[in-house]
Amino acid sequence: MTSVGDRAEGWRRLAMSVLLGLLYVFLYAPILFVIYASFSEDIVWPFPPSFTTDAYAELFDNSLYSDALKNSLIIGLGSGILSTLFATAGVIGVLRFPSRRRALILIAFLAPLFVAELLIGISSLAFNARLLGLPGNLFSAIAANAVEGTAFAFLIVLAQLVRYDWQMDDAAMVFGASPLRCFWEVTLPAIWPSLFGAFLISFILAFNNLEISFYNLGAIPTLPSVAWGSLRFGLGPELFALAALTNGLVFAVFALMYVLMRTGIVKFGYRGV
């Protein structure tokens, strides 16, 4: 009886493990292949393996890529910071001051998620250039990217702050903390992980963005626009190196955070009482 049950249980676990494995392959195989190929001599058919760093040399020799990287970083940082600030202020407002129109206010914050990026790009170009007479530059690209970034950041910050107990702020204020001091001493230490998460997501969104940035920048290069432009000359090895580096960087950030959390140097999340 038990052995039959054990065997059925064993099969079920095996089936679930295989399913999980397949899901991971689906998610990561293309990314791992690009990283593998970027170190290969023949990027078109990199089998059998023979390794070289030529692709990386080519990438670093091309000054266009370093300009593009710089611009993408600026857009990512600027848009990430703006989005996080707007989203946090919005979430605190919605949660702290309940209103009968709360649902409507929430939807208005999230609506940009449902607007195609292409449309955000074109309309912010038309609005900035035609109506306001502003030239397309990094600033307008930051602002346009922050439209979408704010909506994403709002969602992330909201997900954690619904669990925050605002009575904690009441307590701080009764004990003499002014609203600003209360935010700094009590609210922020509890909610910063979600702000950080929101920043990371909105940073990556803006950093990777092609459509919105392209319309606002024109000839100013960003990593996605350069990568896209170079496609006209075929899949160059430097693109493989670029993709591998970008992914490597993101993985490195997450790995670092994981280590910090495991070792307890950074307390990620709310220390529930």
Binding site: D165, Q167, M168, D170, A171, A172, M173, V174, F175, G176, A177, S178, R181, C182, E185, V186, P189, A190, K267, Y270, R271, G272, V273
Partner: protein, 361 residues
């Protein structure tokens, strides 16, 4: 409500109301609390007691009326300038701060010098027996320890007033009884007025000097704890405080301090507060412990016969449930030690003519 004392009251509320739309959460409350007082606001949930506490703390602004702390009008003052201490039901310790950081938080906000802060921290930790826990985080403490940290944080700045919002509601029974005694001791030792909100009548009766029983935003009764328990002013107070039997009937003859009625065939003489005429429907409340259950009628006074249905053992006391001929029940409470009656036997239920109180329905 007024005190003979001519010092300004530590806290006074002058016709304070708070309306949320059409709801009058607090409705024209007047109150003065003295420097040495342990004052409890007792009421069911939704009676407005927490709203009143939040008004005193400055977390809600009253719709009308004034709030004075030590004679100073603080009605429009934000909470962080009022220098009032508070202890919350769910403790509300700052989860990312250690016990020591939590306790000195009020002093840091008041920019007290570090040397004095440390000195006061030691005092508070000793007072609340928190030695050795200074570096712990709140999630590493037991419920009782968290509540003591919360009290230490409330008391460390020696506030003009300490507000306590159901501080024992989340603790288990044994710990609650222990903390009741401790909290009253701190109040008497430190001579800081405490305003204690609770829905638990035992807590209010154990700790308070005075109790206000609140319902629907108004005081049903305010007075020394003995009065609230022994001389309820309204039917609501009589039903809410203590454990009472409730009998309803029509008054037949009304004298100056006693009325006569017939309840289920028994003629009873009952005290009343006035304002009742013959023919009025009345409710009579009598506490369990005022009733005596004996095998035969012994004492004079009101008498009802029945048979003992059950004895509910409560430890020190027991509840004797008596079924009357028509199926209704009367409960008496007495020492559980020397039971003179046995279950199933005919018994006599008696109480003195002066016990309990009638109210007009």
């Amino acid at each position: 409500m007024t005190r003979a004392d001519d010092r300004p009251a530590s806290l006074s509320l002058q016709s304070v109301s708070k309306h949320f739309g059409p709801v009058r959460a607090v409705d024209g409350i007047d109150l003065a609390i003295g420097q040495d007082e342990f004052f409890s606001l007792l009421g069911p949930s939704g009676s407005g007691k927490t709203t009143m506490l939040r008004i005193i703390a400055g977390l809600e602004r009253p719709t009308t009326g004034r709030v004075l702390v030590r004679g100073q009008d603080v009605t429009t003052m934000p909470p962080y300038r009022r220098r009032i201490g508070m202890v919350f039901q769910n403790f509300l310790l700052f989860p990312h701060k250690t016990v020591a950081e939590n306790i000195v938080f009020p002093l840091r906000m008041q920019n007290v010098a570090r040397a004095e802060r440390d000195e006061r921290l030691l005092w508070a930790m000793k007072l609340l027996r928190l030695d050795g826990l200074a570096e712990r985080y709140p999630n590493e403490l037991s419920g009782g320890q968290q509540q003591r940290v919360s009290l230490a944080r409330g008391l460390i700045s020696r506030p003009a007033l300490l507000l306590l919002d159901e501080p024992l509601a989340n603790l288990d029974r044994e710990l609650r009884a222990e903390m009741e005694v401790e909290i009253r001791r701190y109040q008497k030792e430190l001579n800081i007025p405490f305003v204690y909100v609770t829905h638990n009548q035992e807590e209010a009766l154990t700790m308070s000097d005075r109790i206000a029983v609140m319902r629907n935003g108004v005081f049903e009764q305010i007075g020394p704890r003995n009065d609230v328990y022994r001389k309820p002013a309204t039917a609501f107070v009589a039903a809410f405080v203590g454990q009472s039997n409730q009998l309803t009937a029509r008054a037949e003859m009304v004298g100056p301090d006693s009325l006569t009625l017939t309840w289920r065939g028994h003629r009873l003489h009952l005290p009343h507060p006035g304002g009742i005429k013959a023919g009025d429907d009345v409710r009579f409340f009598i506490k369990y412990e005022d009733i005596e259950v004996t095998p035969e009628r012994t004492a004079p006074g009101n008498h009802v016969g029945g048979h003992l249905r059950d004895i509910i053992f409560k430890g020190q006391t027991a509840n004797y449930i008596v079924s009357l001929a028509d199926g209704s029940e009367i409960i008496a409470s007495a020492s559980s030690r020397d039971q003179k009656v046995t279950i199933g036997e005919a018994v006599s239920v008696t109480w003195p003519a002066s016990a309990g109180m009638c109210f007009k329905t």
